[in-house]
Amino acid sequence: MTIAPPSDQLTAGASERRRPARRNGRSAGRTRIGYVFVSLYALLALAFGVVPALYAVVLAFTNGDGGFAGIGNFTKVLGDFRFWPAVLHVTVYLVIWLIALVVFVVGLALLVHAVRVRWVSTALRFVYYLPGALAGASSVLLWLFVLDPTASPVSGLLKAFGFDSFVAVIQPGHLPAIFAIIAFWTGAGGWIVIMYGALNNISTEVIEAARVDGANAVQTALYIQLPMLRKWIAYMGVMSLAAGTQLFVEPQLLSQASNAVVPNDYSLNQLAYQYAFQQNDFNGAAAISLLLLVVALLLSWVFVTRGGLFEKE
């Protein structure tokens, strides 16, 4: 790459001599352009990061007339008969999903990494990753078909479990597992690719040394690769936990598609939505959103402060 044509040598020398004076001017210029460059971003960050969070705080502690309500809104939503069931639903879903994610993502990444034939390994990663293109409403819609025994590609499997109708499949007790399967189907591939990348970063000398010492593939995975993946597994766990508390689109669409066999206040975010849009109670909605936001902030804070995660070993 040509950075400076040779003829500039002279001017370069000239500026060298005047260096001290120019330095100051330069660094002031750099500060100025710094302000210019971040100004719009800072504006967006205020408008859609800081201000909404603060406004939610204000709303959560006031009543409909704008008077101070203390913790009234919180006792109201915590006392709502729908609140604790929603917490339970989301918790059960999270437990199933996180266990599945950790076990299968790590397992599959190790297996795919052990595949010697290059194109097989590439093809496997691509196939696992592909459903990631169907996110949100599209993937839920696709799974409505898969779970409906009349049209499902796995209707034989569903019927073998004794599920003869859509309503039988989506009984309340099955929902956490169903949402976990949908989330796993869309999201696992991305994490498998990330874990695979992390495995690639483990030096081959370490693996070779283990092999020379007589470790077989399983032992290498258990005692060398798994401990070295620990940070990435923690990262995946924290991110997925934070995202999972926000459960909304899956129960929302399923509720719509099942004639309310699945209630429309199944998850916490749905309950907050009901408060805002059905009951016109923005203060109650703000209180629930704030509780969820605090959980997300705590998780993210743990991550940023204890963040040895991105330091080099």
């Binding site: 719009l40 960050a45 459903p131 409403a137 799974w143 593939a217 936001l293």
Partner: protein, 300 residues
Amino acid sequence: MSALSSESRRANLRGWSTRSVAGIVMALFVLFFVIPIVWLLLAVTKSAKALIVSNPFSAGSWSDLVANWHQLFGFQDGAVTTWIGNSAVYALGALVITLVVGVPAGYALALTEFKGRRALLVLTLVVMLIPSTALVLPIFLELNSIGLIGSPLSVILPMSFFPFGVYLTYIYFSTSIPRDLLAAARIDGCTEFQVFSRIALPLAAPIVALVAFFSFVQNWNNFFLPFVMLPSSDGYPVQVGLTSLLAATPAFNPSSAGSDSVQLPTLALATIVSILPVLFVFLFSQRFLVAGMTAGGTKE
């Protein structure tokens, strides 16, 4: 001697069975990930009746595909076309603002000094790590109080705030651009803006593309934000429009059987159409993305 050979044969056998179990597990997961997609691609080529009676993995006919296509785009006088247009406007509008605002911000955070730099960096990191849906209702409450609900800006502007993109460019500019290069440009008489636009920005092209990819995919797939912000069907992006189609499908909503009802294969086609742009971007940027990621990461 014989003890040794039986030992090695047993080890061989164990290795062989481990390997076949591993193969079976990987193959089962291939089926898990692929079957729904294959089924979806076949389902759109069938009539509503054939979808239920025929083998799930048999192909239908071209004419049925065309019929489904017409039913989908005829739904509510071409609502689907409107929704796709809306999605494009929202996703691309937010993408442009994200790049115009975010890339210079990442540069400034990495290579300049100003008051509040650390605070902005921490804010970026924290918001990046919380799920984007956590701020949707607070943003709704905020925009509602200033009467912006229902306007395209109520989705485009919040989507334009993309801390992850700023973080990616920040990491790139602070680790992969040699300071000497920028100093040399300054000595050659570049203004501070030219240092950015002529030196740093062209070098960062792969990372800018990466940010554009993530931003576009996330914006296109965003459901909760437009669902909350846009009350009228005219303003829906296609992801939210899918709920209207679902509501008009008698198989899932028996009360909807009417003239403008949607059959199952049509709903399946809607699912494919709604993700086509993202799928397109996915398939064609694979190689480029991998190059971009390693370009950013190797020089740490």
